[in-house]
């Protein structure tokens, strides 16, 4: 047997936390620089997102929404990472990352239209820097490197940030994307939201890697594992990665340890087939909202009354967004055909005319 010293040595890493499980600050120097207003905003976004998630699940059950992937449990990972970005930074989301799109500027009614399978859901406003949710797992990782290269070539002081799940790190494109980002030293941040399951398959069956953050080593980029139920830890890790990226120090892979309380999607997934209720309740004890609420209350920055008012506002805005989605003109076959090319080829023009003769629906 060859001497073990000949082999690549793996270094252990520690998970980064800012708050403990009860919401107390672990050490003052860990605290990201955030004003009281910004701290409250993190909480507002998380509470709002939780309410929206509950409403979306209920609308889905009534047959009024369409495709939906629940987010409860992942709010700190989602909101903490998005909030550390500048508005000009570009997000490449996966299908569960709709909250980040909305908090980055996508109007809420368009998120509902996306769920309903309406093209208008993907028509991102001109001043909002996000891509439509990616369906093909890890395609966003290679595209993220392209966006980041574009920013670098355009000499922008911005980054491209993309999201993927734990299972997605098994894809070839995951490695290709982070490897490109390393090779070209691109201003990119790859957030791996490790919610423990790729639909039903647990992380242990995905890889022999010690952590998903270790996958950064093969690409020669920075990798860090973060408590994904701790919004301040996620915020700080992304803020730090962003700073290094815009200073030309290259990309970072951030693994957030999180959990989705609900099913993979609302399309028939039953989590009781692959995980125990004990496990779910263990994670619920780390709930990102509870922890951060405790933290804010200890600083006298949050009250029950405030939260109730926020919930009322969220419910009202969600109802308005649904109404606006309901009122949006339906897609038609001619408009679908029109969106295939900048200029329609003659054959497609003829096909469009066929549907126009049919009434254009």
């Amino acid at each position: 047997m060859l001497n073990t010293s000949l082999f690549v040595q793996e270094e252990a890493i520690q998970t980064f936390h800012v708050l403990d499980q009860d919401g107390s600050l672990l050490a003052p120097e860990l605290m990201p620089s955030l004003s009281d207003g910004q701290l409250k905003e993190l909480m507002e976004k998380m509470v709002y997102t939780r309410i929206w998630d509950q409403r979306a699940i209920s609308l889905n059950r009534q047959g009024r929404l369409g495709f939906y992937a629940p987010v409860a449990g992942q709010e700190a990972s989602m909101i903490g990472s998005q909030s550390a970005l500048n508005k000009e930074d570009f997000i490449l989301p996966s299908y569960r990352d709709i909250p980040q799109m909305v908090w980055h500027g996508l109007p809420l009614y368009q998120a509902f239209l996306y769920s309903r399978g309406h093209q208008q859901g993907g028509r991102i406003p001109e001043d909002v820097h996000v891509l439509m949710p990616q369906i093909i797992i890890a395609a966003q990782i290679i595209q993220c490197s392209g966006v980041a290269m574009g920013m670098k070539l355009n000499k922008k002081k911005n980054i491209a940030l993309t999201y993927i799940g734990d299972g997605g790190t098994s894809q070839g494109d995951f490695y290709e994307g982070i490897n490109y980002a390393g090779a070209f030293k691109l201003p990119a941040v790859f957030v791996v939201q490790n919610n423990r399951y790729a639909i039903s398959v647990p992380v242990a069956k995905q890889t022999a890697a010690t952590t998903l953050a270790h996958k950064a080593v093969a690409a020669g980029i920075k990798g860090i594992q973060v408590d994904g139920m701790d919004v301040l830890a996620v915020y700080k890790a992304v803020q730090d990665a962003r700073q290094r990226a815009i200073e030309g120090q290259g990309p970072t892979l951030i693994e957030t340890l999180t959990y989705r309380y609900g099913p993979h999607t609302m399309a028939g997934d039953d989590p009781t087939r692959y995980r125990t209720s004990d496990e779910t309740s263990d994670w619920e004890k780390k709930d990102p909202l509870v922890r951060f609420r405790n933290f804010l209350q200890s600083k006298k920055l949050w009250s029950q009354e405030e939260e109730e008012k926020l919930i009322e506002r969220a419910k009202q805005e969600i109802a308005e967004a649904i109404k606006k989605a309901d009122e949006t003109e339906k897609m038609t076959i001619p408009s679908l055909i029109d969106s295939m090319f900048e200029t329609l080829p003659k054959d497609l023009q003829e096909q469009k005319e066929f549907y126009l003769r049919e009434g254009g629906k």
Partner: protein, 326 residues
Amino acid sequence: MAQMTMIQAITDAMRVELKRDPSVLVFGEDVGKNGGVFRATEGLQKEFGEERVFDTPLAESGIGGLAIGLGLQGFRPVAEIQFFGFVFEVFDSVAAQSSRMRYRSGGRYHSPIVFRSPFGGGVKTPELHADSLEGLMMQIPGLKVVIPSNPYDAKGLLISAIRDNDPVVFLEHMKLYRSFRGEVPEGEYTIPLGQANVVREGTDVTVIAYGAMVHTSLKAADELEKTKGIKAEVIDLRTISPLDIDTIITSVKKTNRAVVVQEAQKTAGAAAEIIAQINEKAILHLEAPVARVTSPDTVFPFAMIEDTWLPNPKRVQDGIEYVLNF
């Protein structure tokens, strides 16, 4: 006017566009310092710098993702897939991502990308280099597929492809790279995508081809005129998607007979589509079924039988005589 090979014309097209438009980027495996395995990008890195003409890591899917992301940031990527047999490694970017960008975003984003790639038989490459996979590409909504047959067209079509705001698969037949020279104007000119070219006029039969098969068809037509007085019209499609069906139908209405020639295997490719459209638009003008001359429905073979596997002038002549004697 300069005499150029097709590969020189392709390099020239990229040079013209790199010079004209600062958003044009050229990249792929070995395209930088080495100038590409076929020298298609010879001298371009030296002239335009490493930011605009560069090598990528050896990962085709990464090249596709890079192109899409750069397209989102306002660049016009010209991405080389070293051989088109490798397209399966980047199929998601070509067939599922770039081609759907405009649709998925309701027009907010688009993918102004050219995927350039050598393909085609007759040069004895290893496996999965020479395959004719244009039929697969042709079936993908949102993609354009261009296949030039000569230096002049190659330059004008590539410039059009680079300027196009939708993704274009630009396939370059390896056998044509250096097999002959042709006149190529200096500077810029464009040939519209989706416009076929009647390269030989005739009244007895219409032969429809693209890429290297244009030359095979012309040889067959010349031989039949010499030996049997048959006047075949030959159409070079230049772009198979969009397909210039009008030029085909005009010719078929004149000759009443047609043969489609493709290097690809027989089933479900460009030839099948062309025949279907002739049937839709001109069946009452036909005196005979439309014939297709193709390779057999096998994988592209190992080099030993490559030359006999590919359609040749004799097989095209047989196809023409079949429709004439029907």
